[in-house]
């Protein structure tokens, strides 16, 4: 399914600070790829009017407070997310997938691993000493793993640092 000539790229993120990082990332992307933002459908997207956006059911909110109801909702949401991931990967055939976390991008990365797509995880900028839970899983599905704080470089040789996503 992989299309080497595909000009499409995904940037996938959850809400809050992750979405803010996506906004900063998209401000500086090069024009040789058409970026599509994939995020959760219950978040404030007023700053993304000009971007191509695809929405998925929220997952992040169920992982923040673990209880029986949230665990059940989480399983349902993950099933829907996997279906959506397959659909969007088939529809757009991206050549690059960038995951900014938290959980939402993992199904995309996992499926894309089998499709010869360049998969990237950018660890959140709030991590200085340890990797996040989603980062630990994304590590196995990403060809390149970026950290936003150089203090994390000592943890793994695979980690790359090219700066922190911050507004100009």
């Amino acid at each position: 399914m992989s299309d080497k000539k595909s000009k499409c790229a995904f940037i996938i993120c959850g809400e809050g600070g992750h979405l803010e990082q996506a906004r900063i990332f998209l401000k500086s992307v090069t024009r040789d790829l058409d970026w599509i933002l994939i995020t959760e459908n219950d978040t404030d997207l007023s700053r993304f009017e000009k971007q191509n956006i695809e929405l998925v059911s929220p997952v992040s909110k169920y992982t923040k407070n673990l209880n029986i109801i949230n665990n059940f909702n989480f399983i349902i949401s993950v099933a829907r997310l996997i279906f959506r991931a397959c659909y969007y990967l088939y529809k757009y055939k991206p050549s690059v997938i960038v995951n900014l976390g938290p959980f939402i991008g993992l199904p995309f990365l996992a499926i894309a691993t089998f499709l010869n797509v360049r998969t990237v995880h950018i660890e959140t900028r709030s991590r200085f000493q340890t990797i996040s839970r989603s980062g630990k899983i994304a590590y196995y599905f990403s060809k390149v793993f970026f950290v936003q704080n150089p203090t994390l470089l000592v943890l793994n040789q695979k980690f790359k640092y090219v700066g922190r996503l911050e507004d100009d």
Binding site: N149, G163, E166, D167
Partner: protein, 165 residues
């Protein structure tokens, strides 16, 4: 008139929101609580209002006397970059611990006062405003900006490595 903004980003942080109501009884000014999913029990006071989102939060943080924020990266880095005086309260009500590391970073580099919800509960709001004004904190030095060209170069190398395997 003293005005206060409490922001909790996109996460439940009921104890901080409830603290807003408590502070509302201590001051004449307004308290605005931004909380996407506030479900706690708080007393309805005329000078305390709750909103899900604040679109121009960069503008509002300049209009208030004190900003009290959770320790989310989006909120904290925005305030640091704007050079706003603020008090940080890490959210331990979450199941993950990512706010702890950012709180440690703020503490280690003395960038902002970090107070737990228990500590905040022990403060009168006037004392907290005084602390945020009186104590000296370091100016935020921006780290290296994310280099998109280097990012794309590394991606291209990854692609070449992958094709040659």
């Amino acid at each position: 008139m003293t005005n206060i903004l409490i922001t909790t980003g996109t996460t439940h942080f009921n104890s901080l929101c409830e603290l807003g109501s408590k502070w509302g009884r201590q001051i004449q000014g307004r308290i605005i609580i931004q909380d996407k999913e506030f479900t706690g029990n708080h007393e309805v006071l005329p000078n305390v209002s709750s909103v899900r989102w604040i679109k121009n939060i960069e503008y509002y943080v300049n209009q208030v006397d004190l900003v009290v924020t959770h320790c989310g990266a989006g909120s904290v880095f925005k305030l640091l970059q704007q050079d706003i005086r603020f008090v940080v309260c890490p959210n331990y009500e979450r199941s993950d611990d990512h706010q702890i590391e950012l709180a440690g970073y703020l503490r280690n580099y003395q960038l902002a006062p970090v107070k737990s919800i228990v500590e905040l509960n022990n403060y009168e709001i006037r004392d907290l405003i005084e602390i945020s004004r009186r104590d000296r904190y370091n100016k935020y030095v921006r780290p290296r900006q994310f280099d998109m060209l280097e990012f794309m170069e590394i991606l291209d190398f990854a692609s070449i490595d992958n094709n040659s395997e």
